[in-house]
Amino acid sequence: MSVVKGNNTIVVSRQVKDTALCYHCGAECLSENIAYDNKTFCCEGCKLVYEIVSHNGMCDYYKISAHPGLSQIKPLRKDKYAYLDNEAIASSLYKFTDGKNIIVTLYIPGVHCSSCMWLLEHLYKLNAGITESRLNFTAKEVTIRFDKQVISLRQVIELLATIGYEPYISLDDANKKQPKNYNKKSIYKLGVAGFCFGNIMLMSFPEYLSDNTIEGQYASLFRILNLALSLPVFFYSASDFFKNAWKSYRQKAINIDAPVALAILITFARSVYEIVTGSGAGYLDSMSGIVFFMLAGRMIQDKTYQSISFHRDYQSYFPIAVNVVSNEGVASTSLKDLKKGDIIELYHDDIIPADAVITDGRGRIDYSFVTGESEPVSVTAGETIYAGGRQTGEKMRAQITKPVASSYLTSLWNHHTFSRNKAEQNNKKSFVHLLAGNFTIVLFALVMVTGIYWALNDPAKILPSVSAMLIIACPCALLLASTFTDGSLMRLLSINGLYLRDAFVIEQLGKINHVVFDKTGTLTSGSTDISTKGHELTMEEKDLVFTAASSSKHPYSMALVKYLPGCKKLNMEKWEEIPGKGIEAIVNGNYIKIGSAAFIDLPVTDAKANFYVLVNNKLTAFYIMPVIRKGIPGMLGKLSGTHGLSLLSGDNDKQKPYLQKLFGRNTELLFRQQPVDKLSYIDVLQKKGKKVLMIGDGLNDAGALQQSNVGITLADDINNFTPSCDAILKAENFSNLPSLLRLSKAGKKIINLSFGISLIYNIIGLYFSVQGKMNPLLAAILMPLSTLSIVLVTVGISNLYTRYIGLRINPESQPQYKT
């Protein structure tokens, strides 16, 4: 379901002969009438963009990529951004202002190709007030600097909207001021560790290659330089390991960082001791190397998708301002200042910001995103409308009855489920920490035994042997194995359309044994299918019905028009639409009625039909069925063999018989579920010991997504609004779900395998060190060798396995640039 305006799916067009493609967006042109400059366009909107672009001499836009634009079929409402004239609201979006120049950063979901970047960075050509614009392509954010005296923020945003790059502005933008969570520190730490590691290796070469014949003065020179170079590694780059270890000690739960930090500490202490006393060269090269590789692994694992947000709540769904009616007229008011009793004005496509009662006009409220109901609800004056619904009718007025924060929809966020930090909990539960904990306990037992043994036999050997053990037995290999596996799996999953919030989701996903589906927007797509019963319309009758329906804006009429393609529009003698009931018309002398059973006023055989069409006393019943997404039946069949399934729908049970057949007889299908019902259903499953995966798409699933072990949001366009979740799955990849779950399950096995391989290196190292034959050169060879083999094994096996289960391992080819 698409909820963000101006965010239409990009049409991938293949040149088909005989059909003209829109020069701007590449969509098929249904009529040849819209032309300009010998070029055809699919709609007036696209033509307008072309006119602006070509008028300003910016036709390079169309040369860089073919059909770079987005379809402009949905016109922009004239006063949509009028609220930005209110300086208080506008300034909440400013990133910087000196009174004259203003800098704003806007999120533009439509950015997708090189042409987009070119146009957005040449905005100064369109308006002299814009002095600079720069696009962050990865984050889809454009930063614009403009002169307040020449152009206002509203004009800047309207300019962007008219050239087809409408920014997405929500209440969230006004509230958050902090920059994106972008971790520069970890890049510095990695860079410093790499620098020191390389130079320490270089300085250690004389030590590796000499047979203790290196002259004394040089030996100490290199050793002291090594020591100096290792200080930034120990105190700066490795600091996170110490911090995490300390945290785990305080919380009395050993995580993997604790033994790693201990090993780093011991290695450093022993190396300092050896260098200071002149008894040896220490193992600073190995220490800085391992820190460098571990940081690299962490970075690969923590790679995030900048343009996708996993933490959205209702705030990013709500608009930033609404029109409030007062004695002085209509004025834009920031949503934060909206009070109980205010009268607001809502237009077509506006979102209701708070629970309210209609005072004037009537509405058709689409609640599909908040409740899962697929049919819009007709409401008239005096009825209550709920926050989160979308008005799809004409202009109406309503009085606020509850403040924004305590509305029906927003109160869901006060549920205790939302107060826990799921990411942190998942991290703590990871088997890697458990393994590291057990590993540490065994290691300490061995160290104790060794220590006691030497205390009884030769006390002088306690320290060297114990420290050697602690150094060799560092579980860095485990850390490397898990981070590189996670990073590699996250990359492979994202290639196949599943974007994870963080790496810990992989392990949770591998444990899932029960999958709960939402219906509206998840199993079904936004489009509908129509079936009929009763009298079959002839070609002539179809034209008549088409004519009567095409003048109405009711969703059923619009669906009917779509259902009757290629029909001709005829003359109408009479046409009347009775709101909430139907249409009555006389076309070419034929009497036509379209509407509900009560409106038709004839005995009907099936009360379940959505509406009826009466042409010259011949009755046809129409059923509107949401279309089930492609590949769903096959996917459910595959999944039911390995996982338990359930369906939770906020919708009515009209489709139950069909869905029951799809899911199998033993699957529980529940309808008319409120958001809180969904949440508690998952809670009950979990109390029975199930690991639950929830797949939903709307705000009505937000509670269930949060409560479940893993919550996946299905999205037709991953840059659209999605409720807070653990992962986002592209709708086109939905049928691959069983394979994606299998791949996640493999993660644990791959980590165990590569950990096993690295243990072989540890045993080799231990074998030499026990005999006192461990020299720095051998250590310097073993360390990178084991790291390299872990990386190769994890990346190699995860790629091979992905191909084996039939998923893609390479991203889809990028769109070709015109030469």
């Binding site: 960075e121 100064y124 860079g191 620098f195 130079n199 270089l202 020179l221 640039y817």
Partner: protein, 50 residues
């Protein structure tokens, strides 16, 4: 052999220059947008202000 002292010092200095360049590149936000720069370089720059 004392030339070794000079050489070691020079090598560390050269390496430090690269470290400095790296820190500068992170500071100037060059790691923020990994895919944008590759497209931007193909565009003709005809903005007189730049």
């Amino acid at each position: 052999m004392s030339v070794l002292y000079v050489l070691v010092l020079v090598s560390i200095l050269v390496a430090s220059v690269f470290l400095g360049a790296f820190i500068w590149s992170v500071r100037s936000n060059q790691f923020e947008d990994n895919s944008g720069a590759s497209m931007r370089m193909l565009h003709d720059n005809d903005n007189p202000q730049h």
